[in-house]
């Protein structure tokens, strides 16, 4: 009886959660980690079905976010081991391919991780302050302020890149 009700509710919400979380993960990690984190996120949703809000996606993003954080902690442990190996056999640096908007990529890279994370949630997951608050576990007011500041920092980072590029061009143009 209870099981049937649970299954019914889960089946009603899971498709949207799967698609949303799948995209969330694809934006942030490799396919193998994404697959694991998606399964883990769904499991948490299943086990915590009674706690899920009416709009479960931001809640599920928060769970997926934690799954990724856990995976990254594991990666760092492995990286520390790899670093020791690398001292003996240093890998050659690999140049990353430039994305469709290198200035934006550079500006985002210059932001604090938390700001960049917030801006991606805002733009890619299309979240407003109330939903961001749910994902980040902060008050709506705090999320709103952080979003405002993060946007300004990104604008500033982009502006500095523009100024820098313009300066270089003018310098080059004045050379003999």
């Amino acid at each position: 009886m209870e099981t049937d009700e649970r299954r019914e509710r889960f089946e009603a919400i899971a498709p949207a959660v799967i698609e949303g979380v799948r995209r969330y993960l694809a934006r942030r990690t490799d396919p193998a980690t994404a697959e694991d984190a998606l399964a883990e996120t769904l499991l948490v949703c299943w086990r915590r079905l009674d706690d899920l809000p009416d709009e479960p996606l931001p809640w599920a993003y928060g769970v997926a976010r934690n799954c990724l954080a856990n995976a990254r902690r594991g990666d760092r442990r492995r990286a520390r081991l790899a670093a020791r190996v690398a001292v003996i056999d240093p890998p050659r640096p690999v140049s990353l391919p430039e994305g469709p908007d290198p200035d934006l990529a550079e500006a985002m890279a210059r932001l604090r991780v938390q700001d960049a994370d917030l801006l991606r949630l805002w733009a890619w997951e299309d979240l407003g302050p109330a939903e961001l608050a749910l994902v980040l576990g902060v008050s709506v007011n705090a999320a709103s302020i952080r979003l405002h500041r993060a946007r300004n920092r990104l604008r500033e980072a982009l502006r500095k890149l523009d100024v820098h590029a313009g300066h270089e061009q003018s310098t080059e143009g004045s050379r003999w």
């Binding site: 934006r27 990529a105 576990g137 982009l158």
Partner: protein
């Protein structure tokens, strides 16, 4: 650039734009696999108990960037509802018997938040610190740490928290770093470690 313009610009580099929809049969299989797992959590195994006993929950007043990162036994935490406060679930590291001697370089490389604080209040499992100095990370006036049993073996020199007692605490990704990297401020070598690291 307007907010909308900024948002559109970030959207244009969405790495999932070309991701196709998951096939219906794959989604169904995923749901079935999930629902075939018992809804109730399985009890922790022996090794998990150690981690659970060392669990801390840290709430940083005015600092939202440390987010709940429950790494207890591999079970992710769920986001808190707004208004419940910026609560961060942490683990305190492994048992001290397995810890290597702390090194400033390791602390400098791993901590993303570190502060000195004085115990302001102890209420049940909650220990509230008044921050006296932030060594690394965003400014915070208060930090709240919830201890499983009012203490943590992974904090250096840590007996039951008392009002007025000073602590030095470091954290990474929402997890308090134990193993000699956090504890009572007058613990031997801890302050020197912080000064050298930050």
């Amino acid at each position: 650039m307007t907010d909308d313009g900024l948002r559109e610009r970030i959207k244009l580099v969405d790495p999932s734009a070309s991701l196709p929809l998951l096939a219906a049969d794959q989604a169904s299989r995923l749901m079935e696999e999930t629902m075939s797992t018992p809804a109730a959590s399985t009890p922790p195994t022996g090794s998990r108990r150690v981690l659970l006993a060392a669990a801390l929950v840290l709430a940083v007043a005015g600092v939202g960037w440390l987010f709940a990162g429950n790494i207890l036994a591999g079970q992710p935490d769920v986001p808190r509802t707004p208004g419940a406060g910026p609560v961060v679930r942490l683990t305190a590291g492994t048992a001290s018997a397995k810890c290597r001697a702390p090194e400033a370089a390791t602390l400098a490389a791993s901590a993303d938040f570190a502060f000195a604080g004085t115990v302001k209040a102890v209420s049940g499992q909650d220990v509230t610190f008044t921050v006296t100095r932030v060594y690394r990370g965003a400014a915070a006036s208060e930090v709240q740490v919830e201890l499983d049993d009012g203490r943590s073996e992974s904090l250096v020199g840590s007996g039951p928290a008392r009002v007025g007692l000073g602590y030095l605490i470091s954290a990474a990704d929402g997890a308090v770093i134990g193993c000699g990297y956090s504890g009572e401020a007058d613990s031997q070598g801890l302050r020197q470690l912080f000064e050298a690291a930050f």
